[in-house]
């Protein structure tokens, strides 16, 4: 018997699989201009005439070409559209067969929060937020949105958070990891104050446009280097937030690091603790060991999961971080997608599995 190759998403039915929360799903516009109906006339004209300039030196596109077209799974292209642009296709290929009970949407393209024109950034964030409600969360109640904010203008970002605060379809605020300054610096504090006020975690998703090289050592030659560079970028922003005392100033703030891996987190905390013990006089506002702050305020999504040769090493890492701080994520429809059934390279007890795959997210995002 031969099967039709064109029929994508012929995965096994989801009813038999345990329910999961997927904390990183990427919906996108079919074409950039599809957002026009959600923009006020003034910004429609701007987009048609000038477009969006991200905060880097290129006219368009990311700094590094991706390993696969649109950085997507080859099998995730809906007929006639971009991966992530078709809710029905996403339901059939991912949400239904993988039994996704809660899916967190992170719109990273266009990178509205990274638009160099700050007024346009704010307008585009508002438009994409409303678009998420109209086209995604309003049509599938399993999906919840992340509030996009013009984070380089923290006052405007705070206003955007205030606008959506209490809306049942939004469960976090989302930034990208490459920013104009390290994220702990005070220019970003109003944003954290607003997120704390709204009771929304702040998710920081890898990528973005800071205008600086994507590694701490300058511009690398290869996409591979960009991929592994996310870990150092997130270490830098987390260090900044801890050392600047963001979590002391906003004790209700919860931070979710998305798509940067997690095995680096224990070693960063060890290094921070050691250095803090010797240099704490420089930062008297940081009254607790950094590891304690991290354990209290930080969550990490699992994808792209590290795959050490000796799988028990991942056990050790998970044990340090705490199973309650890990949020399963697939990154659908992107090429480095983690499959819920196969991606976890370690065996967990039934309870721990439930926490990682579902309960931690339900609790953090208030869906329990």
């Amino acid at each position: 018997m031969s099967l039709d190759l064109r029929e994508a998403g012929s995965a096994t039915p989801g009813a038999t699989k345990p329910a999961i929360a997927d904390c990183d799903i990427h919906p996108c516009l079919m074409q950039a201009k599809d957002i026009l109906p959600w923009l006020p006339r003034r910004w429609q004209r701007h987009m048609e005439q000038f477009g969006m300039l991200p905060r880097h030196g290129y006219q368009s596109g990311p700094a590094y070409p991706k390993g696969q077209p649109d950085a997507a799974r080859i099998d995730a292209w809906p007929p006639g559209g971009r991966p992530g642009s078709d809710l029905g296709f996403m339901q059939r290929q991912h949400l239904d067969p993988n039994n996704v009970a809660l899916g967190i949407l992170n719109v990273i393209a266009p990178a509205a929060g990274a638009a160099q024109n700050l007024d346009f950034s704010a307008a585009l964030c508002r438009a994409l937020n409303q678009w998420q409600v109209d086209e995604w969360t309003g049509k599938d109640s399993r999906l919840k949105g992340s509030v996009l904010v013009p984070y380089e203008d923290a006052q405007a970002a705070a206003a955007e958070i205030d606008y959506w605060a209490g809306h049942k379809d939004f469960v976090q605020v989302m930034l990208l990891s490459r920013t104009a300054e390290p994220l702990g610096q005070r220019r970003y504090w109003p944003l954290y104050a607003a997120a704390e006020r709204a009771g929304l975690p702040v998710g920081v998703h890898a990528f973005g446009y800071g205008g600086y090289p994507v590694t701490a050592g300058g511009w690398p030659s290869y996409y591979i280097e960009e991929m592994v560079g996310h870990a150092q970028c997130c270490q830098a922003l987390l260090t900044s937030m801890v050392v600047e005392g963001v979590f002391e100033r906003f004790p209700g703030l919860k931070l979710v690091l998305i798509e940067a891996g997690f095995a680096w987190l224990p070693s960063l905390a060890w290094r921070l603790d050691k250095t803090w013990a010797r240099l704490r006089e420089e930062v008297p506002h940081l009254a607790r060991p950094p590891s304690e702050v991290i354990r209290q305020h930080v969550w990490v999504t699992t994808q792209p999961m590290e795959e050490p040769e000796k799988r028990r090493h991942l056990h050790d890492v998970i044990e340090w971080i705490g199973i309650d701080r890990l949020l399963f994520a697939t990154d659908y429809p992107h090429w480095d997608y983690d499959d819920p059934e196969w991606s976890l390279p370690v065996r967990l007890g039934a309870d721990a599995r439930q926490d990682l795959f579902l309960r931690n997210a339900l609790k953090l995002y208030g869906q329990g």
């Binding site: 018997m1 031969s2 099967l3 190759l5 994508a8 390993g67 696969q68 799974r73 080859i74 099998d75 090429w335 480095d336 997608y337 983690d338 499959d339 059934e341 196969w342 991606s343």
Partner: protein, 138 residues
């Protein structure tokens, strides 16, 4: 081991592929220059459907700065994470001795020869003696 006729040979021209279901197993069948090969349709990494992957050759460097491109069309990349497999053997490029996807014996047989085999499993179509067929041993 049973032999299953899965399709007329003409259904998969050189460079082509098909997905066959044989005794409950999904097998991706490839035609490399007239020879047929079969791989289990799931990547051993996370289960991506290999039949949806792209094929390419091997880009190798014996030393930095020296490049050779060989075996065009014989290397399959998983549609998810791009793990590469040798279509002829199922072995992975990264760790050929340890990581592989199961390879099945697939051959071309004439309808006349198949007509002589009593154990044959022709799935859903009649076998005509004047045609060639793709046969999977399973």
């Amino acid at each position: 081991m049973l032999r299953h006729v899965v399709a007329p040979a003409s259904a998969v021209p050189p460079g082509g592929r098909m997905l066959a279901e044989v005794a409950g197993k999904k097998i991706a069948i490839f035609n490399l220059g007239g020879e047929f090969f079969g791989l289990l349709n799931r990547c051993p990494h996370q289960g991506g459907e290999l039949c949806r992957g792209t094929t390419s050759g091997l880009l190798e460097a014996a030393a930095p700065g020296e490049y050779r491109y060989t075996r065009q069309g014989e290397i399959l990349r998983c549609p998810w994470h791009g793990w590469e497999f040798d279509i002829r053997t199922g072995q992975s490029r990264a760790e050929p001795q340890r990581i592989r996807t199961k390879a099945y014996a697939v051959e071309r047989a004439s309808g006349a020869a198949l007509a002589e085999e009593p154990e044959l499993r022709a799935e859903t179509f009649p076998v005509a003696i004047e045609q060639d067929y793709i046969v999977v041993d399973l």
